[in-house]
């Protein structure tokens, strides 16, 4: 009977109070709500406001809400009867002590609730903290994960409550809330609690939408520099050199063929972050295979290229990085490969411009030309028609030129099986296509630097790259 009454109270609070406040007053928008699992789970989020718990409860279907409990700090919510009534009666919270008493496990009730099949809302930061700052997550979430093996943890990022009702303010101001739900996942139960907490924090932060620019001086977006070459090993070497050079003057991120690298004054670091193609994106590779994309972007390589371009797009909103260096550029590579394989004659400037517009999503490929493009340039067709990604135009393009003989010799020496199209004649034509693509981009305002393969280790070549990157328009501050 008590449980039934509590459920009715919770539902009434949700329908008559939480829903109007969150949806009508505060303007709650939820992204990817469907990712929330049907079974019990632990929802974790950043915490800046008293609105956070009602928002996270409202993500669940109405009839499930009586079985969702926010975890609240006993020292705060049990300090007076109004807070206790709100926390326990209306929000159905489980209160825990933030400081453990000797011989007592403060998380015991939380773990028991999860084992009983309840869902919990948990704020691993432990308190509301400073508005807009995601503090380090405490180890408690790690202890819970370790105690309940196979527990599904749902990361959620809340943007907006910290402006609507931050700590220390008594009156909320309606300004809009965005809640972004992440993919539920489990964490290794054998990891240390602090490590698990750090992993959970990364997953929550990964969902953060680009913050709206605050009033005052603003940092410019990072400068994008792409390194292209017909021979992969040379491209990789030039990419690393450019990373090292740019990293020595400002924080730099490198989107490598397989890994994401960081560079700073101390050098280039591989922190083991691979370019992932998760299962849900594998269909792109399947499409590429079905449409027989060839050359550099065969099958899953195409899916990886799409993934890298999406990361590139996301990095544009990054303000803590000054340079983003790409090992290759989807835009330039696809333009060059289309030029070399698309027809018997090389493309003229107008046609190259058209392909660039298709790749950048400025125009749609006309329906009448779908067959033509699907046959000759399936990569371009897939990107454009399915709107998979809009590859960014680099600010600076570094083109490493190499003679066809030298490139062929390097490919043979690399030990990889030589593809049927990899002949001296083809590589020579591909090199020309890269030049034509670079020429077309130059007309569009991209600064192009051509380096001979023998020069990539010379400091003056990289000095030219540095000079081009530091005078690129994006470096200028907006005010």
């Amino acid at each position: 009977m008590r449980k039934l009454l509590l459920a009715v109270t919770v539902l009434a609070f949700q329908v008559f109070f939480a829903w109007p406040i969150l949806n009508v007053f505060a303007g709650l928008r939820v992204r990817r709500r469907a990712l929330l699992p049907k079974g019990p789970c632990l929802v974790v989020a950043n915490h800046n406001s008293h609105l956070d718990a009602p928002i996270l409860i409202s993500l669940f279907p109405l009839l499930r809400r009586p079985r969702v409990h926010p975890v609240a700090a006993a020292d705060y919510f049990e300090s007076n009867w109004i807070r206790r009534m709100f926390a326990v009666l209306f929000l159905n919270s489980i209160t825990i002590e933030r400081k453990a008493r000797p011989g007592q496990d403060p998380l015991e009730s939380v773990i028991q609730a999860l084992r009983d099949g309840e869902s919990l809302v948990f704020f691993p930061e432990g308190s509301r903290g400073e508005p807009g700052v995601v503090a380090p997550f405490r180890a408690g979430v790690g202890h819970i994960v370790r105690a309940v093996p196979g527990l599904l943890v749902v990361p959620v990022f809340l943007a907006g409550p910290e402006r609507i009702w931050p700590r220390g303010q008594s009156i909320p101001v309606p300004l809009g809330i965005e809640a972004t739900v992440g993919k539920p996942r489990t964490y290794p139960a054998d990891a240390e609690p602090r490590e698990i907490a750090a992993m959970v924090r990364e997953d929550v932060l990964a969902l953060a939408p680009p913050a709206p620019p605050a009033p005052g001086p603003r940092q410019a977006p990072p400068v994008h520099c792409a390194v292209c070459c017909v021979e992969p090993a040379l491209r990789s070497a030039a990419f690393r050199n450019a990373m090292a050079r740019l990293g020595s003057i400002a924080p730099t991120v490198g989107l490598g063929e397989e890994a994401v690298l960081d560079a700073d004054a101390s050098g280039v670091h591989d922190r083991g972050r691979r370019v992932p193609v998760v299962r849900s994106r594998a269909w792109i590779g399947l499409m590429a295979w079905a449409f027989r994309t060839g050359g550099q972007f065969r099958g899953l390589k195409f899916a990886e290229m799409v993934e890298r371009s999406r990361m590139d797009e996301a990095l544009h909103a990054e303000r803590n990085v000054r340079f983003v260096v790409g090992e290759g550029s989807a835009l330039v590579d696809l333009m060059a490969w289309f030029d070399v394989r698309g027809g018997r004659e090389p493309l003229n400037d107008k046609e190259l411009h058209q392909v660039r517009a298709y790749l950048e999503g400025e125009r749609r490929i006309p329906f009448a030309r779908w067959g033509d493009y699907a046959r000759k340039a399936p990569g371009v067709w897939l990107l454009n028609v399915l709107d998979l990604v809009r590859p960014r135009r680099p600010d600076v393009l570094v083109l490493v030129s190499v003679s066809a003989e030298d490139a062929m010799a390097r490919i043979r020496a690399g030990g990889e099986p030589v593809a049927t199209h990899e002949t001296e004649e083809f590589l020579g034509r591909l090199q020309e296509s890269y030049r034509r693509a670079a020429g077309s981009l130059r007309l569009g305002g991209v600064e192009v630097i051509e380096i001979e393969s023998a020069e990539i280790d010379r400091p003056d070549a990289m000095a030219a790259v540095e000079a081009a990157c530091t005078r690129a328009p994006a470096v200028e501050t907006t005010r």
């Binding site: 303007g27 508005p131 907006g160 402006r163 931050p166 303010q169 009156i171 101001v173 309606p174 300004l175 809009g176 939408p209 680009p210 709206p212 620019p213 605050a214 009033p215 005052g216 001086p217 977006p221 797009e313 996301a314 544009h316 909103a317 999503g361 400025e362 125009r363 749609r364 454009n384 709107d387």
Partner: protein, 287 residues
Amino acid sequence: MRYTVPPIDLALALALLMAAPFAFLAGRRGGRFRGMPGWVGFWVFFGGMLVALSRAKPEYSFPLLAVFMGYGLRRYFSLAPVRPPDRWAILSMYAAVPVALVPAYQGSYALFAGLFTVGVVLFLPGLLAISSRRAGLLDSMGRVLLGAFLFLVCAPHLGMLVHRPVGRLELFAILVVIAELPQRLAGRPRPGFELLWPAAGMAVAAVASVLIGAWVAPWGGATRIQGAVAGLLVAVGVAVGALVSEAVAHDLELRASIVIGRGAFLDRCVPAVFAAPLFYHYFELVS
């Protein structure tokens, strides 16, 4: 009881029906046209709201317009955040929504102008200046004043049009749709971009608005000449509104945002809101 749909409402529905195929075909091309179907969707809602404002009793249309103004303010300030201490200024703006609407519904423009002068010119800057020690005062002030100008000064003019002959609001809606469509198809004027196509779009928009305005004006309680001039003014107002909207979106980095749909509401409603005072004052002048 038999109800006949007024011809001006039919004309508005026809304008939207005519705009829809253009918008959907353009939307298929992608790029900057991706939002065109959404624009038609917005106008189905917004046009409906204007019809309701025009036809409903004041006690019903007043809260409707207040909700629109409050929603617009919320969307605007969620995209253009101000300094944390300036939240009191925003709160006072929400509180000012009914204050701005009362004189608008009473038809007292003098009172409205007085409140505007005191509220927006004196009160808001004073409130913002209290926390002048925080960086970004002028930037924050600009954001707050633009929000106030759009939704506390321009939008109430829609309420004032309620007092004009029935059909005036629908006439305004038709003119805005007709003026916006060619400008959106040709590309809206953006600071720093080529101006040939946007200029052509504006010219077509002006001609279309003048012709359509002259045609439908008698159903909206105006003469054909008045309709033509109002069409021209609305086309200019919409173009200026679009320019402001694009520049603000550029400054707030909404164009570069990876979150699709950010700022779509403002992009769609700002030109209409901008054109409202021009339309209202023209008819005030000629009547």
